[in-house]
Symmetry: C2
Subunit: 246 residues, 2 copies
């Protein structure tokens, strides 16, 4: 099992994704938001690249059972129902609903990863479940860091490193590009300081500034959730029993 890490979605080609399981990582905050929404009973999360696309899809689907979620500059988009704070995606709001989701970095990264054989969502929150899924799937793994406005983001890369470590040990994983080696080394540097890391990276500081301080602790928590969102025909749902999939 080859493990490759891509520091931003722009690094990834269709060829890189082919025959592999893509893991989309957006620690702050789309990974956590999607995991939370689905665990709280959302029927599906449909990632789209832009707010305009989200609005168009919602007008086709009808608004009865559909919610619009996502952000621009960290804040809820005008006319949307939900932002990108996982804390907003409580059961009473999302249960049974389809959520069309347009975050700035994570959503386009997920759309980008459709070319892979499978695509799942991971972060600190569902780490062990993601490792079990990937070991069981047994394919090569392409870890796609969402980054921030197309640029390297530390929190995504460090989580990618944790995932490399999780697969590398007894999982038979093979560190197969410079990205996976660098991510692993950076994870070793930060492993005992994950909450501090999430507060010191550029996006964490920005989110704290605009009032989402409590999201930071939430997103840095390891294994607070035990399920894996998987993309099937453009829609994210929870994978059926870890590792056995679909």
């Amino acid at each position: 099992m080859k493990i490759r890490v891509y520091a931003t979605p722009r690094e990834v080609t269709d060829e890189d994704l082919r025959d592999s399981t893509a893991v989309v990582v957006d620690v702050l905050r789309a990974s956590s938001t999607i995991i939370t929404a689905l665990e709280n009973g959302a029927r599906e999360v449909v990632p789209v690249a832009t707010p305009a696309e989200a609005a168009e899809l919602a007008s086709k689907a009808g608004r009865a059972n559909t919610l619009l979620g996502g952000e621009r500059e960290g804040k809820m988009i005008e006319g949307f129902d939900l932002g990108n704070s996982p804390l907003e995606y409580a059961s009473d709001k999302v249960s049974g609903r389809s959520i069309i989701f347009a975050s700035t970095n994570g959503a386009p990264a997920i759309v980008r990863s459709k070319q892979a054989e499978d695509a799942i969502i991971a972060s600190f929150n569902n780490h062990s479940a993601a490792v079990r899924f990937l070991r069981s799937a047994g394919r090569d793994v392409s870890i796609v860091c969402s980054g921030r406005y197309g640029k390297f983001s530390l929190e995504d890369f460090v989580y990618a490193g944790k995932l490399v470590e999780g697969l590398n040990g007894n999982g038979g994983g093979e560190v197969s590009n410079d990205g996976s080696l660098a991510a692993l080394e950076l994870f070793h540097r930060y492993r005992s300081q994950l909450p501090e890391l999430v507060r010191s990276c550029l996006h964490g500081r920005y989110l704290a500034q605009i009032g989402f301080d409590s999201d930071l602790n939430y997103c840095a928590r390891v294994d607070s959730h035990d399920s894996v969102p998987i993309l099937i025909e453009g829609k994210l749902r929870l994978a059926k029993s870890n590792g056995k999939s679909r």
Copy 2:
């Protein structure tokens, strides 16, 4: 002085470069090749994005005083005079000549950096000279890692970290994006193992395989050279006396 590191040229926007000094880093091997060519008396190195562009420019310039240099897949391009091994750029070959240069990763990164106020070339080879230049210029610094086929490369990022450290200490530099923080941490990890790093990264292993093992030691050497190539009107020449430039 703000210091930002970009893991690949694709991360960089014109806005990022504006009013800053760009530092293009291609440890294996374009930085070393360019530094060596200019120290060995080449009149100028003219970076271009593609071999076709190089051939076109050479046919306009006439071949009397012009050499074509560069590589594809690490090897000299058909019809070219020189590859991308710094060891080929000896005085008897390059002295007084203009070199049109088309390497796969470094040359396009340099072309990309034209939007900056200034653009220079750095690597382990001319580290102290680059630090002096940047301190003296006093502008914000945008360190552009050339990467490998558009992807993260460990050796460039680690050198970027060394440069961050050099500017950060008494240089008044400020670590200003996640890239510069991550690069600095990775440099700390590898600082005592630079030759091993250059041998263990993906491109180093590839170059050793295709017969360029001796380039690896050359490119990992710290301060073997004491000058700074600077881009002026599309041509690289040595900056006049370190830090005072032009």
